[in-house]
Structure formats: structure tokens, C-alpha cells
Symmetry: C2
């Protein structure tokens, strides 16, 4: 295994990543892109803005037989932004000022200065620094202000240098792929042939047992199989080596069949996308009545572009007063059953549906903690209800594990899955 | 630089991280903890579940002079979970079945089987695998089902092996720090002495210019200074080498003074925490009227434990009908000025404040895109208004950069900052 696919590596720079000030978003994004192109991703390295550490990370990718290294970050205006210099040294070439790029950046910065009132010598120094290009490299047009680079190392990997801000990095990626050196490399990479399945409500050990059973009858050594719990969903990914595509397909079919009851998607479509599709097919609108999730479910429904077609709106009824005033939950019901109860969850769903004139409503009320738990209703106890204008009622009241954030995130997931169940009418 | 602080490294395992299926949360968390303890974090390596790659990552941390390596993941029940084995080999010791740990895991799994109805041979195999401990290692009690490990390599780094689920990893961390081998190591680590500043509305190039001016008068080579844009805020971190604490303090004071107008916090307190504090001090409650952010601002306000003290609730008024029906925005106002207008933002703020009986209301309406933009109101145009019962009105209508997600996230940030300004009464 591992010999047949060309290897690629990701190097993310930024001392702020090593102090935990921010979480890296580029590593996962680039890894997914590279895997989808058919590379085996050897590793993602996060290093500080120390030139030696970056140089060592590049050498390691070379040592590990990587044919492509993608870096992110270190193209900014400050003194700790050193990627261009280090990559030039790695490739054994000097840096030259690219006059055309210098002019282009100056133009971008002039617009910035006019908009913000900031400008002057600080900006010009930034401009000059960002227009330095290793000799023989392909420069990629800026998406923000920093140009990207495609730099070949003779006898070593091709290095694609991208900016750190995720929007700029993602915006520049198509141009990097279209550059001649990357195109030449991609021509030699076999298609990924990856498959995935996602389940809701199935423990990882069940998949492990099924895989052991399949392995007893079938050689799986040329398919890399990973299972991973992503919040409430269990994801199984199958990545065949070239030639093992049929094995991956058979395992995929077997896993889909054996655990059909818990299967959410067998083709990689997200739950959000599946729900949007189901709501559109029905011509339904949705409204939310949220307590402990505090708007997270509504925000998630609005994440997708075009969601105004099926999202009517929602109420965050965090106080009891708001539950009664805005969603018509009877005060006596709260007094009798408590604000966290299946009765109130249903009243929130009905209230949201009625107040917004929606076809389906979802109510969520729970104890997110850390305080407020009782023996009968401990931290993590969350009541859900989905009701529809055509009379469906789907109710759950699980005890969810974890801390406040986990409980709220999982509650949002459960809300999405129950809405999906209602919209699928199953 | 770099010689005075002991180095530490983080190795995060999981092939799912290299396919981009999930984003790693443990690397940033561990890096922050290690930096706060006074280590210099050399790097974070994300590697797949291939034993050779994990072994190489450990060797690299050793080569780079790291005295501590913390790993996450690979302690699960499936065949691709190999961390215990690889770390034992790295330390040069065999694995033994820890009978006490075996019994403890069996007990935990029995509870799990009773709750979920899943159990049997699949679970027992998982149990046995998870109770294997490298000889001479300290085993750490499970937080989920997998025990952690503290494994010394003779003449090399100490390896702390933690589980992958963030809640389990974070829950086990105090026990790891309290273990004798880690305690002995920490006794030799000098205090971090780190300082940070956060700004809102200040470009990075201005900080770069200020730092150049300071550097002309003062040797900064023993202070690691990083600047990083985190969504709408610019964060500056100062990390002195031992002995350079006074220099870091002077730079910190200078940066705070020179850019006082844009300063949010000079002591690391988050904006969320500052807002919570300001609302509590005033005894105010807050209500939200959100359109394009779709509940993200309400959800963020509810993030902090105890937020029921000051969050009344909110309405996600995504459709025009909902704006009028639930928050009393006059239909004529929407017809005259458009749903995205400063007028409607104010009506949303007032409506939310009045409907929930709150002291401060915030209204947000904007064009999040990708569709719906016009020449006068392009994608990214967002109207904000904060109004208070005592007559303050703070309004903004910026054009925010980026795609749909960026615009909605930044809108949430701007909403938080405007609320903070109102609550501070400045």
C-alpha cells in the first residue's frame, strides 16, 4: 500500500497556529482537495514562522517521497512572513522583484487605502515584499494582495505557495491547478475512486465488526478504510489503490446494505444538502423554536445559499416569558412539566410552525449545562419535536453526552436529522 | 532564540484528517496549552493511521530536540487505531495487558451496551485492545472508554498519548499534567510570560509599521511577536524568552497606547466575555432581530454558560412576512427602503427589544449572497443597528468582503462589537 499513488504534503505556516490563537482551516481543505485529485496525502505539518522550521518541513516532505507540497501562509507584509524566501532557498534559486506584479499589487493597495484611509510607507513596504518571486517560478495572481507561487525544486517536489487567509487560498487554488507545472504532474495521478458512507445513531464498534466479517472473506489490503465520528455522524471512507476500485465498491454496497436503517448518505452528500433537497421537493418551509441551541439550528438552515426558498424563520425563546409571548407556549404547561419537557418541545414546534405559517416546525429545549441539571433532567437531557402541517409528529428526548458546546452542537445535528426524517416522510 | 525554552511537539493521528473529512481541533488546543505552560511548540504534525508515518513523526520530534510529545487519537477499537503499539516501539518496550484497566473498561462498556442495545463480541475485542499498556508507562484513566498513556523514551522525549475525541482529550489533560513524569518535566520549564492584544477595525500593516518604529529603538530579538487576523479581529501575541519579560511588557504598553482607539482587549479576554461582563454590570438583557445571520448572533450570545442572565431571546426574521409579523417592521418601510436598509435594521433592533422586553436590541439585515446583490446594495452590504432603552442608537452599514460564510461570520462579529460598544456606553 502507498506505493501506487503519488504522495503529496501540506505545510501550513504561522506561529499563531502553534500558540492555539487560531485553528487551521487550510490543512483540512487542502488535504481534501489533494485526496480528491488522487494523491496519497502523507501529512499536514503546522510550523511556526521560524525559517529553519519551515525549511525542515519542506525537506521532510521531500524525504518522504512527496511529489507535491502545498504551503499556506507567510506571504503577508510583516517581518515574520518568510515563505517566499524559504521556498526560493529550498529550490536553490534567487528572488527577483516582479515589476508587473509590483504594479498590480500597488493598484490593489491603492483601492484599499482609498476605502479605509490607511496607507503610506507601511503599505509600500508591504507591496515590495509581496512582489518578490523566486527565479523560474510561476507567479499566481493575487486574490487578496499577496501573489501565490508555483516553484519546482530540481529533482524534488513541486511547491505550490498559497496565502494564509482561507478565502484567498481557496480562490487561488483553481489557478494553481491550471498552471503548467501542476497540470503536468496531475496527468500522472490516477483517479481517486473514493467512496464514503455516513450513518446517524450507529456506534463505531458495529462498523468495526462488519469490516472484520467482510475481511474474513475478501482481501481489503488495497483499500484504505477509515471510520470517523464527526459530531453525531459516523463517516466511513473507502480509498482504493489503483486497481482496487471494484473491491471498494463491493465493500461500500455491503456496508450500505448491512446498516441501512442508520444510513444517511452513501454518496457523500451532506445532511444539510439532503435536507434542503427534501424540503424543496416537498415545497415545504421550515420554522424553528429553539431554547438551548439559541439559534444554532436556524443559522445552520440558513448556511446554504438559496435557503430563503424554504426557511421561514425562527424564534430563540431562551426565557420562559419569550416561550409564552412569542410562541404561545402556555405558562401553565411550563409550570406543570418544566421548560425542558417533551410537552414544551412540541409546543415550541407547533408555535414556530404557526407563527411563521410554515409547513414543518422544530422545537428544541434542553439542559445544556454546566448548571441547571437535576436528577430527573440532568445536563445533556434535550427534548426535540418536529411537527408538520400534515400531522406528522416526531419526538425524541435523549440524554446527550459532553459539555455545553458538545450538547448544543449535537442538539443541532439531531434537529437536522429529525427534520430530514420528517421531510423524507419516513 | 529558541534555545532557552524546552521544545514540545504535537502529533495528531487519523487518516480522516488527511482526507479533509474532519478538521482537527486537538492540535490548536494542545498547542495553546503547551505554550501557556512555557514550552516552545516546535510543530504540530497531522499524520494518517499508517504506523510508519506515526513512527516517523515521533522520531522527528526527537530529532528536533523536543522534550515532550503529545499525541492525540488512534486509541479506538478499530484496526487502524495503532498509537499504543507505535509509541511502545518508539520507547523500546513491549505492551502488556493491564488487568485492572481491562476490568474498568469492561465496566464502562457494560453501561454503554445497556444504554444503546449494542454489545457482544465487537465490544469485547475493543476492550482488550484498549487495555494494552507499554511496560513502564503510566496509564491514565479513561474519560470515554480509552485510557491514555505517559510513556518515557530513554534519552528521548516523554510521550503523552491521549484519545482523539476533543472532550476526552481535554478531560484527560489534567491527569496527564498531574502524572509524575510530566510533573518532573514541568518543574524545569520557565513561565511563559506571554501577552496579547486584540483590535477591531485596524489593518495588519499599521501594526507592522508600529513594530518597525519600536524595533528602531529597542532590541526585540528575544520576543516572538506574531500578528494574526482572526475573522474581524487583529490579534498580536508577544512571547518573551526567559529574561525578556520586561521588553514584552514595554512593547505591549506601546501597542496598547498607539492604537487605543481600535483596542478591544489588552489582557486576552475574549470579546464574548467582555460583552457578557458589560451586560451583567449594567444589569441589561439583550434581544436580537436577525435576517442574513439567521440566528448566528443569538447562538453566539448563548455560547457562554450563564447567558440566560442577560439573553432574552431573538427572532430570525428571514422572510419579509416574518419581519412584519414577529418584529413589527412596517411593510411600507420594507417596500420603500428595501429589506436590506438602515431603516429596517433599526426597526429590527427596536422590534426585538420591545417584543422581548430587553434593554438592548440589535438588528442585522444584509446581502449574504451569492445571489441577491444589486449595484446599490451589492453582496456583502450589511446594515446593523443597536438601540437601547436609554436612547442610544449605533448604526453601521459596511460592505463586508468574502463569500456567504465570511459575510455571515463577520456580520456576527460586527454585531458583537457594536453591542459591546453600547454596553460600555462608549
Amino acid at each position: 500500500m502507498g506505493a501506487l499513488r503519488p504522495r503529496a504534503a501540506v505545510v501550513v505556516t504561522g506561529s499563531e497556529l502553534l500558540t492555539g490563537a487560531i485553528s487551521d482551516r487550510n490543512g483540512p481543505w487542502l488535504a481534501r482537495e489533494l485526496a480528491a485529485l488522487g494523491f496519497e496525502v502523507a501529512h499536514v505539518q503546522l510550523v511556526g514562522d521560524r525559517p529553519d522550521d519551515l525549511a525542515r518541513a519542506l525537506e521532510r516532505a521531500d524525504d518522504d517521497g512527496c511529489e507535491l507540497v502545498v504551503t499556506s501562509g507567510g506571504l503577508g507584509p510583516t517581518a515574520d512572513d518568510l515563505t517566499g524566501e524559504v521556498v526560493a532557498r529550498f529550490a536553490g534559486v534567487p528572488l527577483d522583484l516582479d515589476e508587473a506584479m509590483y504594479a498590480r499589487i500597488a493598484q490593489i493597495l491603492a483601492g484599499f487605502a482609498a476605502r479605509t484611509g490607511f496607507g503610506g510607507p507601511a503599505l509600500d513596504a508591504a507591496n515590495r515584499k509581496q512582489a518578490m518571486v523566486p527565479r523560474g517560478a510561476v507567479a499566481l495572481d493575487p486574490v487578496g494582495t499577496a501573489p501565490g507561487l508555483v516553484v519546482p525544486r530540481p529533482g524534488g517536489p513541486l511547491v505550490v505557495v498559497l496565502p494564509g487567509p482561507p478565502r484567498e487560498l481557496q480562490g487561488m487554488w483553481p489557478a494553481a491547478l491550471a498552471s503548467a507545472p501542476v497540470r503536468d504532474l496531475l496527468a500522472r495521478v490516477p483517479a481517486a475512486g473514493a467512496r464514503s458512507l455516513r450513518y446517524f445513531g450507529l456506534p463505531e464498534s458495529e462498523i468495526a465488526a462488519t469490516l472484520r466479517a467482510i475481511e474474513a472473506e475478501c482481501d481489503l489490503s488495497d483499500v484504505e478504510i477509515t471510520t470517523c465520528l464527526r459530531r453525531s455522524e459516523l463517516e466511513v471512507d473507502l480509498r482504493p489503490q489503483p486497481g482496487a476500485e471494484a473491491v471498494a465498491e463491493a465493500v461500500h454496497a455491503e456496508l450500505a446494505a448491512r446498516h441501512a436503517r442508520h444510513l444517511v448518505s452513501a454518496d457523500g452528500t451532506s445532511t444539510d444538502e439532503l435536507l434542503a433537497r427534501a424540503l424543496r421537493e416537498r415545497g415545504w418551509t421550515v420554522a424553528t423554536g429553539e431554547s438551548c441551541t439559541g439559534g444554532m439550528l436556524a443559522a445552520r438552515l440558513v448556511d446554504l445559499a438559496g435557503s430563503s426558498d424554504y426557511v421561514a424563520g425562527g424564534v430563540v425563546a431562551y426565557s420562559n416569558q419569550a416561550k409564552t409571548d412569542l410562541l404561545g407556549v402556555p405558562a401553565e404547561m411550563i409550570a406543570t412539566h418544566g421548560a425542558v419537557s417533551p410537552e414544551v418541545a412540541r409546543a415550541l414546534a407547533d408555535g414556530a410552525r404557526e407563527r411563521f405559517g410554515a409547513d414543518v416546525g422544530v422545537g428544541i429545549t434542553g439542559v445544556a449545562g454546566p448548571g441547571g441539571g437535576t436528577e430527573a433532567k440532568p445536563v445533556g437531557y434535550v427534548c426535540f419535536c418536529v411537527t408538520t402541517a400534515d400531522g406528522q409528529v416526531i419526538a425524541r428526548d435523549p440524554r446527550l453526552p459532553g459539555g455545553r458546546t458538545d450538547i448544543r452542537e449535537r442538539s443541532t445535528d439531531v434537529g437536522m436529522h429529525l427534520l430530514l426524517r420528517a421531510a423524507r416522510g419516513a
